[in-house]
Every structure is written in structure tokens, then in C-alpha cells.
């Protein structure tokens, strides 16, 4: 388990008036979970975590604070004065700036150009040389190098998020809303951000950290407010509670389902489901991201690839599914060579795929659950049998407890976690022979994540499906994998049986 290292300050509840106060906010969506009389204070100089399971209403609340949604009822006060926030522009006037999990920057422009553009949008100006200096100084302070004159498409996800946060600071953020903005960063880099955030609040800023990860909240927050089904369960000080207390607040009686015990090792069949031989795959920047990987997944076996983000896992997974060209080497699916056969031919052979950006590579947000099922060649060949599709949709909604007004509601009305459930349930359904997954649970709350892992494991053990899973979450790998392969710099640097693997050894190989 991740230990909760203290990036907390000597924060004490000073006799502070809240800098931002949310009073009795309600917001209704048809069928979906809404906000119900939410009260919430942000103090000066604190990191305040807003924690909740998927669909609890966290994102809705910050979007109201940032002027993207307007509340049905309730008031917002900034420094004791009632304000109306009808657009991000209004929010920024009060020093409230949001950074979301998806970078909102233009790939073709340089970092500095992007920031200048962001300032101009809000009527602010700055000379490019000043912006450049600011980026240099701040990126040094964080410890993540960003060249201000580099085009954004060359940046890693972490660097992009840093650019987003720096832009927010330049816009004049005093209250920074981080909507899962650092949740998906690799742990080592996340810690660098923690220090940076701590400096920001020490200088009088405030941060609202929206997350579904308890450990993220425990690592950095001074206070934690827990939301469940659109209501505030309570606000607590970090130093007064244990992770278990918070978990109970988040999930109530469901928290008993949370366990990080290893799932029972399944008995692999004597058939090789997937064989990867000396695989070489190019990354996005013209260098090899996968360098001679050999890997075997037996039917009924779960192979987990552990590694820090950006060590070639994404490219490996994409090559297996046919989304990325193989330069050299072979991919064999049940002894059939499918190297560079293309995703269409590979998928219809009973291969499920769970990507890590569900909204982009998984589902179509404008379409409903039924349509998102029927679009798969593995489910529909020519004529759509809507009756059967509807039945399948209902079955998956029940089985995975997907919160949706109906199977005919556009997927975009669902919360992030529920969108992921639609995707995961569909892919598990079509994975008759092999399931390939990349960070399958990272947008899910603990209860759902553990449920998904159990279902994946069961799928392997019972139906004899081979599973290849790459995850940056080591807890996940240790919980689910029968075989753990550690990937570093495009190579597999160690393979261990899941029940005998030593965590320290695995971590050492990951950072080696």
C-alpha cells in the first residue's frame, strides 16, 4: 500500500474567514446524480481535497465554481461577498482558475505561445520574454524541465499538466481548482507537484483538489470534504482521520468490499493465447518505444506489465491490438500470426481492448449505451438487432451497476467512472479469447476498480481468456496478475510469478 508521506504543512485552523464559500448549492440532471444542498468552504492557505466515488458530484461542484454549469439553487461567496459566476471569465476575475485532467492546449504552438494565448483570452497581456523566464524559473522549482520554446505535441502528459498549472498561475489564480489534474501522473512526478502545491498555499494561495483517490487526498490535503451521491458526508482535517475512516465516509457500507489482497492465482490452460516475439515498435517521436519484447500469455492467465508511465507499455499494448505498426518481430494470437493485420481483423477474433482514454478511444460520447455496444464489429456485423442489443445493455447496466437514466441516454450525461464502466463491461463481453488493457481502472473509484479486477480475473479463470494488462498502479498489478513482467525503457527487465514476486524488487527494476 502506498504510504501516506506527509506533504502536509504545519497547517492549523487559523481564525480564517473562508475565501470561498458555497452555500446550499443544488443542481439537478435528469436521472443522473445531482448536487443536493451542498455547503463547502475553502480557506486561505489550505489544500482542500474534494473526495468521492465515481458520480458523487465532485466535477459538477467545481464546474459550478468555475462558471461552466450554473446551479439551480444556492449561493457562492468570495471573501464574504455574494458573487455570481456565469462563465470562467467571471471565475477568473475572483482568482478562481480550474485545471482539468485533459490538457487544453494547442499542439502546434510552443509552450510560451500557448500561455500567451491563454492570457490574451482573458484580456491579460505579457511579453513573451517574461513568460519564458517564468516557465524556466517555475519548472526548475518543480523539478520537471519544460523548454518554453518547444512545440506542445512533443511534451509528455506530465509536462502538459505543468504548463496548464503555470498558465493558471499567470492568469492570476489565487484559488486553484485541480479537477483530477494530477491524479493520473506517475507517482514520482506527482510528488514533485505536491511540493509545488505546498509552496503555493504557503504563499497564501488555496487549492481544491478533486480526486477519487484516497491516497492522493491523504498525501497532500489539509482538509478533506467527502461527497456521496451529491451530498456532503462531512469535512474532516487530514491529521484527525485514517484512510479507513475516509473510505467509510466515501463508500459507507460498501467500503467492506475494498481489499488489496491478491486474487487467487488462476490455473493457466496449456494453450498459448498470445505470444510476442522480439517486438520492436516506434513511439510518437520517431524513436523505438518497444525494444525487442518477448512475452507469452497463456489462456486463462493474467499477465501484468508493471512500469512507470512512458516506458513503452502504451506502445506495446497498441501494437498488440493492431493500432500501432510493428517494425520488427511477431505477434501470434493462438498460434496465428496477426502482426500488422490491423485492428479490424484482430478484434473480430475475440479480442477485447480497454484503452486508458475512454472518451477518446473507447466510446462515442454523443451516442447512447446501446449504440456504443452495437458499433462494435464483434457485436454487429451488418444488420443491428436492436432487441438483442437492448437486452445486452440492460444486462451490463445491472451487472456493473452503471448509473444512467436509461440505456438510451447519451453517454456524455454519465460521470467519468460510469463511462469507463460502459467501456469495460462491453470489452469484457467481447473478449472471448484475449483481453488487452491499459490502465483499466485508473478513472474508477476503489469499490468499482476492485469489482472490475475481480471480473477480469474471473473471466480468465472461468472462461480461459488470456489477459494482458499494463498498469502504472502497482497495487493493481499485484492484486490481479498471475505473472508480473516489469517494463523499463522499452524492455522487459524481469518476470516473476505473481504470488512470489517481491514488491521491493519490482519497484527497483521499474526505476532502474
Amino acid at each position: 500500500m502506498t504510504e501516506s508521506k506527509a506533504y502536509n504543512s504545519n497547517f492549523s485552523l487559523k481564525i480564517n474567514t473562508p475565501i470561498v464559500s458555497v452555500k446550499n448549492i443544488s443542481k439537478r440532471f435528469p436521472g443522473a446524480v445531482a448536487l443536493d444542498n451542498v455547503n463547502f468552504d475553502i480557506l486561505e492557505g489550505e489544500v482542500h481535497a474534494l473526495l468521492g466515488e465515481n458520480g458523487a458530484g465532485k466535477s459538477t461542484l467545481v464546474k459550478i465554481l468555475y462558471g461552466i454549469y450554473s446551479p439551480d439553487k444556492g449561493e457562492i461567496y468570495v471573501r464574504g461577498r455574494r458573487v455570481r459566476i456565469n462563465s470562467p471569465k467571471d471565475a477568473i476575475k475572483h482568482g478562481i482558475v480550474m485545471v482539468s485532467q485533459i490538457p487544453q492546449i494547442i499542439d502546434r504552438l510552443t509552450v510560451a505561445e500557448n500561455i500567451i494565448l491563454g492570457l490574451e483570452k482573458y484580456g491579460l497581456t505579457s511579453r513573451i520574454s517574461e513568460v519564458r523566464d517564468f516557465i524556466k524559473v517555475k519548472s526548475k522549482e518543480v523539478g520537471i524541465a519544460v523548454d518554453p520554446d518547444i512545440e506542445v505535441w512533443k511534451l509528455s502528459y506530465t509536462q502538459k499538466q505543468l504548463v496548464e498549472i503555470l498558465r493558471a498561475l499567470l492568469i492570476g489564480a489565487r484559488i486553484l481548482l485541480l479537477d483530477e489534474a494530477i491524479t493520473f501522473l506517475p507517482l514520482i512526478e506527482k510528488r514533485k507537484f505536491y511540493k509545488f502545491i505546498r509552496n503555493f498555499v504557503d504563499e497564501g494561495g488555496s487549492v481544491v483538489l478533486i480526486t477519487h483517490k484516497i491516497y492522493e487526498a491523504m498525501d497532500i490535503a489539509d482538509r478533506i470534504t467527502v461527497l456521496r451521491q451529491g451530498r456532503v458526508v462531512g469535512t474532516v482535517r487530514r491529521d484527525e482521520v485514517s484512510p479507513d475512516d475516509v473510505r467509510k465516509m466515501m463508500f459507507a457500507e460498501k467500503s467492506a468490499q475494498i481489499t488489496y489482497e491478491r486474487l487467487p492465482t488462476s490455473k493457466p490452460r496449456d494453450v498459448v493465447a498470445l505470444e510476442i516475439r522480439d517486438l520492436w515498435v516506434m513511439g510518437d517521436y520517431g524513436v523505438h518505444a518497444v525494444k525487442g519484447v518477448n512475452l507469452t500469455v497463456k489462456a486463462g492467465e493474467v499477465v501484468g506489465i508493471a512500469g512507470i508511465a512512458g516506458n513503452g507499455q502504451k506502445e506495446l499494448i497498441q501494437a498488440v491490438i493492431g493500432l500501432r505498426k510493428v517494425e520488427k518481430g511477431n505477434i501470434m494470437l493462438y498460434s496465428e500470426d496477426v502482426t500488422n493485420k490491423g485492428v479490424a481483423k484482430i478484434r473480430v477474433k475475440g479480442v477485447g481492448y480497454i484503452p486508458d482514454q475512454p472518451a477518446r478511444f473507447g466510446v462515442s460520447l454523443d451516442n447512447n449505451i446501446e449504440e456504443n455496444l452495437a458499433m462494435l464489429p464483434a457485436i454487429t456485423r451488418r444488420i443491428i438487432k436492436w432487441g438483442a442489443v437492448r437486452e445486452l445493455a440492460r444486462k451490463l447496466i445491472n451487472e456493473f451497476n452503471i448509473l444512467t437514466p436509461s440505456s438510451k441516454a447519451p453517454v456524455k450525461l454519465l460521470s467519468g467512472g460510469n463511462i469507463m464502466k460502459v467501456l469495460v463491461s462491453r470489452e469484457l463481453f467481447v473478449a472471448k479469447r484475449l483481453l488487452v488493457a491499459y490502465n483499466p481502472t485508473r478513472t474508477l473509484d476503489e469499490v468499482t476498480a476492485i469489482m472490475v479486477r475481480k471480473i477480469i480475473k474471473e473471466k480468465a479463470a472461468k472462461d480461459g481468456v488470456g489477459v494482458l494488462i499494463a498498469s502504472e498502479d502497482l497495487d493493481e498489478i499485484f492484486q490481479i496478475a498471475d505473472t508480473i513482467a516489469v517494463m523499463n525503457s522499452g524492455k522487459i527487465v524481469g518476470t516473476f510469478p505473481g504470488d512470489k514476486a517481491n514488491r521491493d524488487e519490482v519497484e527497483r527494476l521499474m526505476v532502474m
Partner: protein
Amino acid sequence: MVLVKRIKPLPLGGILIPLLSIVIGILISTIILYVIVGASPIITLSCVVSSLISPEIVLTFLFLTILGVALLVAFSGSIWNIGAEGQLWLGTAAAAYVALFTTLPQAPIVAKIVMVLLAMVLGGAWAAVAGILRAYLNIDEVPVTLIMNYIAYYVINYLVRGPWLGKETWGYIRTDMIPDQVKFVLIPGSTTITYEVLILAVLTIALTYFMLKYTALGLRIRILGSNPDALKAAGVNVRALIITALAISGAIAGAMGAAQLAGYLHRISYPIESHTANYGYTAILVAWLSMLDIRAIPIAAYIVSALYQAGISMQIAGVSGASATYVFIGTVLLTFTVLRVFSEYTIKIVRR
């Protein structure tokens, strides 16, 4: 005052908003015509009202319905086919070839079917060229389809002036009349409407409705408009899908081109650009006005054809020039473009 996004589109918005746009658009056009050319509002409005019930609009209505459906197929996938005009004229040329230069007209029914089918193949192939460029080289289909309209015009112009020039043309540059037995059969009491065009319109709507609603192809074309990456990851061949969507769109336009020849024009006259009714362009308005709902295509086609007719009546009445035709259509479309925002958004008055 702020615009707030509706959670669900306005109920009945699909009907209310186009209707409201038409009323407002006609009123604005009336004012424009009064101010600029001094057309009496009473004459203008009576021209509009009489056009709404004029039997002369039926043929235009049927053609625009077919073409509107053709464009809807491509537009549903966010593929902006601006080339229906060229695709339909190639269909006309294909049908003319069968009617004039083969022996098929001896078997009229076979000839008619072959005329339509060949027109579909040619129209589809013409559109597919833009599809291939878009799918493999990522070249924007808008300029390509647009430019190909002119290529189509000039290819046919060349044919009509040269190898296809008729023998009995009395000095006009045009082809011969197609044989009587392959002309479409007029409905009793009408001078323009034929059974075949009617059947073609009904079939086009029915088959396209089925395709979009009940086939994987139709669903994937619709999803193509919102998330091509998800389709790719799902294992759909997105390149083939783009080409297919454009080919279907072009094929339907081509069929209408054959119908225009056999049902109405009966010959091709040089130069195309001054003989065309520009249905291929007008149909863009029909597809847009339908808000990409196939059930609204006939309604949109009816409205556009009535406004089109109103412009012509104004011209005949001597109150304005040819441009009046497009004043109506343009104004209604602009009004609609503004108003349709309210199907997705609602205005909320907020005190500052």
C-alpha cells in the same frame, strides 16, 4: 443574460425551430425586398403564400428530397459533400449514354433500370474520389467535392459539344432527345411528375432510413461524425467507412440525375452551368434545415422548394430580379442557423 446548455434538446425543437425560422425569415425577406427593390410587401407575401400551395413545386420538392437524403448520409458522418451538383450531372450523363448510344432502349424497363443504376455507379464513383483523398491523404473533402462539380460540368460540356452532339438540334448545342420509350411516365393530370420519380423518392427515403437506423454501416457513419478514434479502436475500418459514406451519397445524387433526364429534361443542353437548376447546391440547405433528421428532409425540401418558387413568381410578377429566389432561402437559412442554438441552449436572465 447567459446562455445555458440544455440537458436535453428542446422538446419539439426539431419542428418548432424550423417553422419559426421560416416565419421570421419570410418577414425579414419581405422587408429586405421592400427596402432594396421597393417590392410591395403584399405582393411579396402573396407570392410566398401562393407558392406554398402551387403544384409547380412538386417536382422540385421530389428532387430536393432525394438530394437532401443523399447529403444527409454524408453529413451524418461529418463528411461535407458539397459535390451533389457534379454527382447528379454525371448521373444525368450516364443515363443519357444508355438512352442515346446503346441498344437497350428496345427493352424500355431494362433500359430505365440500367440508366438509374449506371447513374448511381458513376455518381458514387465521382464522390468516392473525394472519399479516397480524404481517407488516405486526409485532404479536406469540401474543396475537392466543390471543384469536382466544375470538372463534371466541363466534361459533360465537352461531350455535348463533341461526340454527343445531336443530329436534330436546329442549331442549338445539345444532344438528341432520348427515345420516347425510356422517358419516365407522367402521372395523369400532371405535366412534370412521373411515377418513376415518385417511386425513386419513396425508395430513397425508406432505404436510407433503414440503413441509418438498422445497419451497422449507418450507425458507424453516425458515430464517425462524433468520434472516429473510438471507431478505429473498436475495429472499424474508418477509411473504408469514409469512402462508403461518400459513395452512397454520390450514388443517390446520381440516381436523381438520371431521373432529371428521363423524367423532365429529356436531353442535355450546352453549357450545363447555365442550364442547371443548381439543385445540388440548394439541397445543402435542405439537409441543413432538416437538422440531420431524415424524417424532416421532406418538410425541409417542401419549404425550400416553395421559397424557390416564390422567388420565381416574384420574377414573373416583375417585382424583382432572379436574385430574389435566393433572398428568401438565404434569409430563412440564416434565421434558422441563429435559432437552432436554442434547441441546445436556453437563455437565463441573471442579475449582475
